[in-house]
Amino acid sequence: MTTLTEARPPVTEEKAPRRVALRPGAWVVWGAVVFFLLILVGIVGAVVVNSFGKKWFGGWLPKGWTTHWYGATWKEFDLGSVLTVTLEVAIAVVVVSVIVGVPAAYALARRNFPGKRVLMVAFLLPILIPPITYGVPLATVLYKFHLAGKLSGVILANLVPAVPFVILVMTPFIEQIDPKIEAAARMCGAKTWVIFTRILGPLLIPGMLAAAILVLVRTVGMFELTFLTAGADSQTLVVALYYSVSAAGIRAQQEIDAMAVIYTLSMLVLLVVALRFVNPTQLVTQIKERD
């Protein structure tokens, strides 16, 4: 056993110098992040403070506080049901657009076929062309088939830009995944559907999450198409919000702010819920980074 260890001085207990000091680049980046966040706090803070303020005629803070504005808007727009509708629409659009969009993105990412360019343009157009142009005829079609004026119409109309959006976002994600992994799944007898749900699904979660969040944001914020196809009981929050911002007439600034805060809060809840479930960093890499 003499070969096992060689004579050597005792190991020094001193810790190796680690790369702890941040490089200048890092300082700049983190500085920029902090700056951005400060601005953000200011912007959000100003609105939130005002929405609770009684009167704010300049000065650092309003004179007096109240929650009256929230009650007022809530009542005026019956926000309870509006929020429910918004939630339903948002979730339906996200789910359907992901289900329809991801397979299409898959085909676009994995295959080069004649006519692909034309198809890409066809998928790009709904994102590029403002709804002004196609909103009314689209709504006509939907009314004709008795789909508009209720939830289904709002959902369908919002899907028009959402599906291409998902396709566009997901294509690079799918390109990143090694096709060999799919091949392996097929060799295990997995059909296309299973490949999507069991193999690509989990690997694409960060991408789908990103796409879903963005679609969600766009849907909740999509005024024109929603308005054109909504019925009395299928209004979404943004319609109410736009009304309060740009409709004729007088309303308290605080009330608008209160509504904006409600809008943001409801989106925030959705976002945080989404982020709780999945982290926007890829599972795979996470595991790799553990070493």
């Binding site: 091949a183 392996a184 799944a185 060799m187 295990c188 007898g189 997995a190 790799k288 553990r290």
Partner: protein, 361 residues
Amino acid sequence: MSQTKISELRLDHVTREFGGVRALDGLDLTITGGEFVALLGPSGCGKSTALNCLAGLLPLTGGAISLDDRRIDGLPPEQRGFGMVFQNYALFPHMSVRGNIGFGLRMAKVPKADARRRVEDALNLVQLTDHADKFPGQLSGGQQQRVAIARAIVMEPPLVLMDEPLSNLDAKLRLEMRTEIKRIHQTLGLTTVYVTHDQEEALSLADRLVLLREGRVQQIGSPEHVYTEPANRFVAGFMGYRNELELPVKQVNEKTVVLDGLGDGGLTGVRRDDLGGRAVAAIRPEDFTVGTGPNATEVAVEVVEYQGREQAIQARTDDGVELHLRAGTRLAPGDRVTVSVPPERVLVFAAESPAAPEEVA
């Protein structure tokens, strides 16, 4: 997915091109059920391509594949029901080892309890029980490879395709895994197509060897056949006839031939080709013996490599011909020794016979 056994798998002129270059060029092969076929050939000769075509992962550029007289080359991989061990493993990064191995069983809707048992068995087989809950990213190379093997084998598919499944394992483990693969192959009556670059593995496992070169078959035959009677100079070179001595032909007999330039009496060997003016004698290093005997010649030892009980020797004759041989006795560079080789161990090919390529395009 047919879990029934295969009775015949036929490849008819299977061809696959990549951008005009034929990676696989008219492969004709009939595999009978329960056979263990090994694909051999230099790096880049089309072995993986052949497996991928068989599995249905690459569309064919030409030819046909039929299983028991049913054309299957149009079938998607999941409907062929073959198992495959990928050269690069292709493990599911988001599933634990257990999840990876059990995936196929879940697909086949094997009852939970049964599946669990089979997964545990497979884990045991590849000696990964302790790592069952790790993810592929947390495994060593060899561990990953074993997961890939287990994942394919646990399905007990009628046809298993294995692409260098043991390349990252140490000698001891490789031996064990090899035995296991053989055992499974036999007990389950599977048909196996196996790619390896390890001759010993190929020889000991396979019923039949297929030698490929630049996408074209060079020889198909039993291990012994290929080993002792390589069809051409390329196969000989690839099968371990490391000494390829290009020498002028002195005398051609019916079965044997005498070449000039090695030893005093020339080099007598077995004739394998029609011969022109020059020929190539192919000799395995281990067929040389140190000491006088047939075809004796004196050489100077140049390089000695330690290889345990034996040494790998590079030596040179006085005529400047380089020889590779193995010696059990200790030699040192500079030593002069006489070596000999029995004529039946010397294969003589025409110099034009396809050579083991320096470069495989």
